[in-house]
């Protein structure tokens, strides 16, 4: 009887302990501390203090990076990383290396540099969530409200740890106007020097990289992070371009999927998503069963994929199916099954997650007729190679680039 009594007490207390499983920031920090580095970018700058243009001084910008591979690739922010006359990488344990600039993609905000580690220094790469969806649970690998940590070079102090939660998950345009599905908004404190800093979940995996502060920093603790799967894809492309045996050329461009269409913004102005007004549908004689479906094309980019495959201004895109054709066998596999297009964002997410040579089969409405058009998705014209000694010079003018932000 006494044993039974004891068992009851034990079970109760164990159940209590199991429930109170605390998230231990200290364990995460212990695990990832050696993978986060401080990067000093030393560049020449005009000394504005003396107003003497001939006098140049050394300007040091301090940002944050993470060890990506064991052989020394380091991921960081892309902004002005190639300005440096030399890049210095410092580890928490005191190791210091000079780094080489490998490549960067300004639109996704990913920069890659490389160090040659000492023989006795084992680099510890970070663990990174590389998938868009967690196929085991059928959802995102992160959740609103989840505790997160950021480690960075805050205000010049290397290895500063700050914590918070995921405030929200949003499909949002990043600071370079590229739509990123499921961008992370977190309330971790972020300061100058945190550029490129990683966001860790409670397992010590990187789930995002810092992109921009809300309100240009005027709002309290509203920071946006690019999800790690997109950063991983871009970084892998930059590294494989760099490691290929042929010399670097202007074809080494990170994949920026693009259709080249501009949707009609409708009469609703800034109220919510771009949806089409009822008046427009009445004007076009939209059949009743499609009343809440379809987006109207306001324009197609001259040399874009949409124009090439025959989409026109004033076409209605009603349905979409995405298929991928195998280059060897020629077999089609359906990537995204047939679906009605309800709003612009739905299509824009499909485009931004498309792979090379994906075929979009649109059901379109033109002059009252419904028929199918196949469009092979293409490369964004503004995506140019961003490599050391790159001679690529785009033919696009400034006004082209400004207009292009309306297209996707």
């Amino acid at each position: 009887m006494r044993a039974f009594c004891l068992a009851v007490i034990l079970t109760a207390s164990l159940a209590g302990q199991a429930l109170a499983q605390d998230y231990k920031a200290i364990d995460v920090v212990d695990e990832v501390r050696d993978s986060v580095v401080s990067i000093d970018i030393n560049s020449l700058a005009v000394n504005y203090a003396t107003f003497d243009i001939s006098t140049q001084s050394l300007l040091t910008r301090q940002i944050t990076g993470v060890v990506y591979t064991e052989n020394g690739y380091i991921l960081t922010d892309s902004n002005s990383i190639d300005d440096g006359i030399y890049i210095n990488v410092r580890f928490e344990d005191g190791h210091e290396y000079e780094a080489e600039f490998i490549g960067a993609d300004l639109q996704y905000g990913v920069g890659v540099i490389k160090i040659n580690p000492d023989a006795d220094h084992d680099l510890k790469p970070i663990k990174m969530r590389g998938e868009l969806y967690n196929s085991d649970i059928g959802s995102l690998p992160y959740e609103q409200g989840e505790p997160v940590l950021a480690i960075g070079y805050s205000g010049g102090y290397g290895g500063t740890v700050t914590s918070g939660i995921i405030s929200a998950i949003r499909t949002f345009r990043n600071s370079r106007k590229i739509l990123i599905p499921n961008m992370i908004q977190a309330d971790v404190p972020i300061n100058i020097g945190n550029e490129g800093c990683p966001l860790f979940n409670d397992l010590g995996e990187v789930i995002g990289f810092h992109d921009i502060q809300g309100g240009g920093g005027s709002l309290q603790r509203i920071s946006f992070f690019s999800p790690s799967w997109i950063v991983k894809r871009v970084a892998d492309e930059i590294i494989s371009n760099h490691e290929s045996t042929r010399p670097a050329n202007d074809e080494d461009v990170v994949w920026h999927p693009w259709l080249g269409i501009q949707p009609y913004a409708g009469s609703q102005g800034t109220s919510g998503l771009r949806t089409q007004s009822d008046d427009l549908k009445m004007f076009f004689g939209m059949p009743d069963q499609y009343w809440d479906t379809g987006i109207l094309i306001n324009g197609v980019w001259r040399e874009g994929p949409a124009a090439e495959y025959g989409l026109r201004r004033m076409d209605w895109l009603m349905t979409v199916t995405v298929v991928n054709q195998d280059a060897n066998t020629g077999e089609d596999t359906v990537k995204v099954p047939y679906q009605l297009i309800k709003n612009v964002q739905q299509l824009e997410v499909l485009v931004s997650t498309a792979q090379r040579d994906d075929i979009f089969i649109f059901g379109i409405l033109r002059n009252g007729n419904l028929f199918d058009v196949e469009v092979t998705i293409g490369q964004h014209p503004a995506a140019t190679a961003y490599l050391p000694d790159s001679s690529s010079d785009s033919n696009l003018t400034r006004s082209d680039l400004a207009r292009m932000s309306e297209f996707f």
């Binding site: 159940a15 600071s175 309330d187």
Partner: protein, 388 residues
């Protein structure tokens, strides 16, 4: 044997109690999942003048739904939608409903909204419902250092977030933002808050015309647009209403929330009786002749005496019937000494209507032997917010 069995039963009960208590403390993910269907974005449709939030409005939360009529009740700030008779509210899934302002109380910065046309979801399982009301907690039991999780729609106003207002994707995109911090203080006077920034002070003062002594100070980030949104404790219950962020000053993590118990009094009275009866006696003790917030602040900082003087008696008020006179100095009320008019105002506010307060008065430099009894009445709409 019987005693042993009894002990076991008691132990099991105790264990389950402990178990239940521990299960109540939720992780931040669970809190967000539990409450997000009751958190709304509120935008006043401007009929009565501009709101502080301007274009973007603020936040709010639904605490009760009447499924028979499809009407939901939501709390927000007076400065979010108190000057608009009609507001639009947006839920987590983007559904927009029309709301009507049932009542507003500038003195405590709380407004009650009535949302029309909510779907009848009482038979649906929890995860399929689109609207689910939040649970109101008890703010009196809040300890300093407790978790404070705020939800709302911050940054949703002109020229915020570095967003492009012409880009429709970015308008209203910060809805359902969850931020965490701790309750770092209790009973912070709003008068102190008014002194932060002249412009903000003037904006606030024009709408509040009052001050109060009992705000929570929280380290949770509160940005413009979070106003009216709920502050949750670790059980997922509302303990406060976020109303004032520190982002106007160069201070980090000093933000403020109204305790929910204040709102409860106001809201349930309004729902039961159809009107809010504010306890009132009809004395002007806070400021002799209210003209502007600047003058009020200057007066409280420089010229306010160390005692409470009655500057004026309102016509046809309980104070005028009791025999109080202009120029009297209040020595004590119900045996308590008051030197701060804001404290006395709070005391009157906490009284029940019909109670008699016993005032000891000093008149012409002499304390009057017989105390004066004042019956607490109801404030009329045309009386100044500064009268007590």
């Amino acid at each position: 044997m019987r005693t042993v069995l009894l002990t076991i039963v008691i132990l099991v009960i105790l264990a389950t109690c402990a178990f239940a208590q521990q299960a109540d403390v939720l992780s931040t993910e669970d809190i967000v999942n539990q409450v997000k269907k009751g958190v709304i974005k509120v935008q006043g449709i401007e009929l009565g003048g501009p709101t502080i939030g301007g274009w973007g409005g603020g936040s709010g939360f639904v605490f009760e739904i009447d499924y028979d009529t499809g009407i939901g009740y939501a709390i927000t700030n007076h400065h979010v939608s108190g000057t608009s008779s009609v507001s639009s509210v947006t839920f987590w899934d983007g559904a927009v409903y029309k709301a009507h302002m049932l009542g507003t109380e500038p003195g405590i910065d709380i407004a009650l909204l009535e949302i029309y046309g909510l779907p009848d979801e009482r038979d649906l399982p929890m995860n399929e419902r689109t609207v689910f009301p939040v649970v109101l907690g008890d703010s009196d039991s809040v300890q300093i250092g407790e978790l404070g999780l705020a939800m709302g729609a911050p940054g949703d106003f002109n020229d915020a977030v570095g967003t492009d207002r012409s880009n429709p994707y970015e308008a209203g995109m910060l809805m359902q933002t969850a931020t965490t911090g701790e309750v770092s203080g209790r009973d912070w006077p709003i008068e102190f808050l008014l002194g932060i920034n002249r412009q903000a002070q003037a904006d606030l003062g024009k709408q509040y015309g009052t001050n109060f002594d009992y705000a929570f100070k929280v380290s949770t980030p509160i940005n413009p647009g979070n106003s009216g949104g709920p502050l949750f404790n670790s059980h997922g219950e509302v303990i406060g209403i976020n109303f004032w962020g520190g982002s106007f000053q160069m201070a980090q993590n000093s933000n403020h929330a109204i305790p929910i118990n204040l709102a409860k009094d106001f809201v349930f009275q309004l729902l039961e009786k159809g009107k809010f009866e504010k306890p009132w006696t009809g004395m002007d003790i806070i400021f002799p002749n209210w003209v502007s917030v600047d003058e009020y602040t200057e007066f409280t900082e420089k010229y306010r005496p160390e005692y409470i003087e009655i500057y004026n008696i309102r016509r046809d008020s309980p104070a005028s019937r009791s025999g109080l006179r202009k120029g009297d100095i209040i020595v004590s009320v119900d045996g308590q000494k008051f030197t701060d008019p804001e404290k006395l105002r709070l005391y009157v506010f906490s009284q029940e209507i019909g109670n008699e307060m016993e005032l000891v008065i000093k008149r012409d430099g002499k304390i009057i032997k017989d105390p004066i009894f004042v019956e607490v009445g109801v404030k009329r709409t045309y009386d100044s917010e500064f009268s007590v």
